[in-house]
């Protein structure tokens, strides 16, 4: 069995007699995105601070690649620690330094790189996080969202192998929230780092997480893939997850997963149960858009698709939700397969004006050989039987997916 990168064994931490972490056991694996969720005051930040050594457990031990940290020699632990970056919940920017100085600071202090190289690397991260206009400003002159991005740029400037994110998307608008999450995926693919993240941004955070850890009353309530958490049927966890998931997906305006589930259950429970219903699964490959136009542009295109789909099918009684990063599932109550196909055909014709035009507008801002790409919107229409679970409907929809609309590069790109 794979040795965890970080392991907590019976870790207990108390502050002024109050137990914050109570006999916590958990494992974090290399090259995975692990998300920690839990109510306020359950010790999520305390847990992260133990990983980097800012806090030490009162009882129990923390193992790094199988070796207890408290038994490591100082040099050995320092070696591991330099591979870790930490994004603080309140950003912890050095307030007497400008944005550029803040981002360049870790390189200036811990490397012997020439000044020009340090500035180049810092500017690259500043550019990635769209902070160019803030480069000479001090943290107090920036909004909370911008400060968060500066802190993120500083955390990533040293290309760390393990990154601890303490609520990286707090205070961001839906587009930027998803941009930050996209960037985490992008960097993870590029550098293969391990991410440990505290976040409440359901569903987006779960789309990028390999594992979820739910802290519950000082202990670990659940540890494993998110889908498993939903299947556990532990009432407390179920209630907690539902409380985090609002009624609306902030990015697209579609129903949240929980609201969608409730609508679907209501549909099955009503008289419509006997009537035929259908569903369509829509998909757009975000990674192609992201590589061609950047994360923010890709998310704007997804937002446009979500809003358009919502508006179009709500008018005919359908309801939709995002089921993964780039898939939208729509249910058509009272519509048989033929009627649903007809609806999707009409929808695809109008897509040209609703979504493809939007992608074209974004692409025209980046026109040139480097941004040349083709993008297809897929749809799979299927009939629903009353016994079908949502996952089964998705599988059936995926199997029937075909291209319904295409944005073609004016310069002649490759088909994706």
């Amino acid at each position: 069995m794979e040795t965890p990168l970080i392991e907590f064994r019976n870790v207990t931490k108390r502050f002024n007699g109050r137990t914050v972490l109570d006999n916590v056991n958990l494992s974090i694996y290399e090259n995975q995105v692990t998300t920690i969720i839990g109510k306020s005051g359950t010790g999520k930040s305390v847990l992260l601070k133990h990983i980097i050594g800012l806090l030490k457990p009162d009882e129990g031990s923390i193992l790094f690649q199988g070796t207890p940290i408290n038994k490591m020699k100082k040099a050995e632990w320092e070696g591991h620690r330099h591979r870790i970056a930490y994004l603080f919940q309140n950003n912890a920017l050095l307030d007497s330094m400008t944005v550029l100085e803040n981002v360049a600071f870790p390189l200036r202090q811990t490397t012997n790189l020439p000044k020009a190289e340090i500035e180049k690397r810092a500017m690259k991260r500043i550019e990635d996080l769209e902070l160019l206009e803030a480069v000479g400003k001090f943290p107090s002159e920036l909004s909370g969202g911008m400060q968060k991005r500066v802190a993120l740029a500083r955390a990533l400037v040293t290309d760390p192998q393990i990154v601890l994110f303490d609520e990286p998307t707090t205070g961001q608008d839906p587009i930027r929230k998803n941009m930050i999450l996209s960037m985490i995926i992008h960097y993870r693919k590029k550098f293969g780092f391990t991410a440990i993240m505290i976040s409440h941004d359901i569903p987006d955070v779960f789309f990028i997480s390999d594992r979820v850890i739910i802290l519950w009353e000082g202990g670990v309530g659940f540890e494993g893939p998110y889908e498993d958490a939903l299947k556990q049927n532990v009432p407390m966890i179920d209630e907690f997850l539902r409380s985090l998931d609002g009624f609306e997906d902030q990015l697209t305006g579609l129903l949240s997963r929980e609201a969608f589930k409730m609508h679907y259950s209501a549909m099955l429970g009503s008289a419509a149960r006997e009537a035929t219903s259908s569903a369509a699964l829509f998909g757009v490959r975000l990674n192609i858009l992201s590589e061609a136009l950047g994360a923010q542009a890709a998310l704007e295109a997804l937002k446009a698709l979500g809003e358009y789909t919502n508006r179009y099918f709500n008018a005919v009684g359908g309801f939709s939700a995002r089921r993964s990063r780039d898939e939208i599932l729509t249910i058509f109550p009272h519509k048989n397969l033929e009627e649903a196909r007809k609806l999707v055909e009409d929808y695809s014709r109008d897509l040209e004006h609703g979504v493809i035009d939007h992608i074209r507008d974004i692409a025209s801002g980046n026109s040139g050989e480097a941004t040349c790409f083709d993008i297809h919107i897929h749809a799979g229409v299927t009939e629903i039987s009353p016994e079908d679970t949502i996952d089964e409907i998705i599988e059936k929809g995926r199997a029937k997916q075909e291209i319904i609309s295409t944005y073609r590069c004016d310069f002649g790109g490759n088909d994706q």
Partner: protein, 273 residues
């Protein structure tokens, strides 16, 4: 036979009194030990090439920017000394010794002590407050997570700059103080200028100057260590959190520094005599 002794009210008060003294002593010894380790860690990190720039910046802030206030205080201290000593010496018919009295008082005692107190008030309080704010806003934790030793980056330059600045400012204080004494003693009260300067020159020995500088060095180390320590550990105070802890840390830094300046002045003087 009684199986236990009844604790009477006076005994209870006595027990509380001694236990309070015991707790205070244990805490004081613990703090003193922690401060010694803190100073040692900061001191050994002074001698690194990367520190030169930061030490220069801090010397400018602690030293150069304090020079005006130190010189102002020195001028009036010298003038008051001139006034007081003139009228005292007149009674004994020894006005000629005015230069000696002023210069020795300043070089041996008043110069190092008043300089240290003035720098504590101006730069020491700022050190404690600045470090306390860095602590409360997690900037010190952020330094640690970036692989930067906070003691090396924040504390060592301040201690080095204090050790450099205190003797230099003391020298300024002595000089301006003697000029202050000249203004009242010679210009305003009519003592002979030649006698004044002759007495200054003949009475001050290199041992006096060296003693004054040793005191200044000791005060520099003590003040910077106390002020930085109070700010660095303000989050561990039991009497306040957040902004209040920074305020309390600053007050403690100034009060403890001033007391320790006088205590260490006595100790160093007794060794020098």
């Amino acid at each position: 036979m009684k199986e236990y002794y009844e604790i009477t009210e006076p005994m209870n008060i006595l027990a509380s009194f001694f236990s309070a003294i015991g707790r205070w002593t244990i805490r004081a010894v613990g703090n003193f030990g922690a401060m010694a380790v803190f100073f040692f860690l900061a001191f050994i990190n002074i001698f690194r090439a990367r520190q030169i720039r930061e030490i220069t910046n801090q010397t400018y802030y602690i030293g150069a920017k304090s020079s005006l206030i130190v010189m102002l205080v020195a001028l009036f201290t010298g003038m008051v000394l001139g006034l007081q000593l003139f009228y005292t010496l007149v009674k004994f018919g020894s006005v000629g010794a005015l230069g000696s009295a002023i210069s020795l008082s300043l070089v041996r005692e008043l110069g190092p002590v008043l300089t240290a107190i003035m720098i504590t008030a101006r730069a020491g309080s700022a050190m404690a407050a600045e470090i306390g704010i860095l602590r409360n806003s997690e900037q010190i934790d952020a330094l640690y997570t970036m692989g930067v030793d906070p003691i090396r980056y924040l504390i060592s330059p301040k201690i080095a700059a204090s050790i450099i600045s205190f003797p230099l400012l003391t020298a300024f204080f002595d000089l301006i103080g003697i000029i202050g004494g000249y203004i009242t003693g010679v210009v305003l009260l009519g003592t002979n200028a030649g006698t004044y300067f002759y007495r200054v020159q003949s009475s001050i020995d290199i041992v006096d100057i060296r003693g004054g500088f040793i005191k200044a060095l000791v005060f520099g180390a003590i003040v910077s260590c106390i002020c930085c320590f109070q700010g660095y550990f303000c989050h561990m105070r039991s009497d306040g959190f957040g902004a209040k802890s920074v305020g309390l840390a600053t007050v403690s830094a100034v009060v403890i520094s001033c007391v320790m300046i006088l205590v260490s002045d006595y100790v160093v003087t007794s060794f020098l005599m």
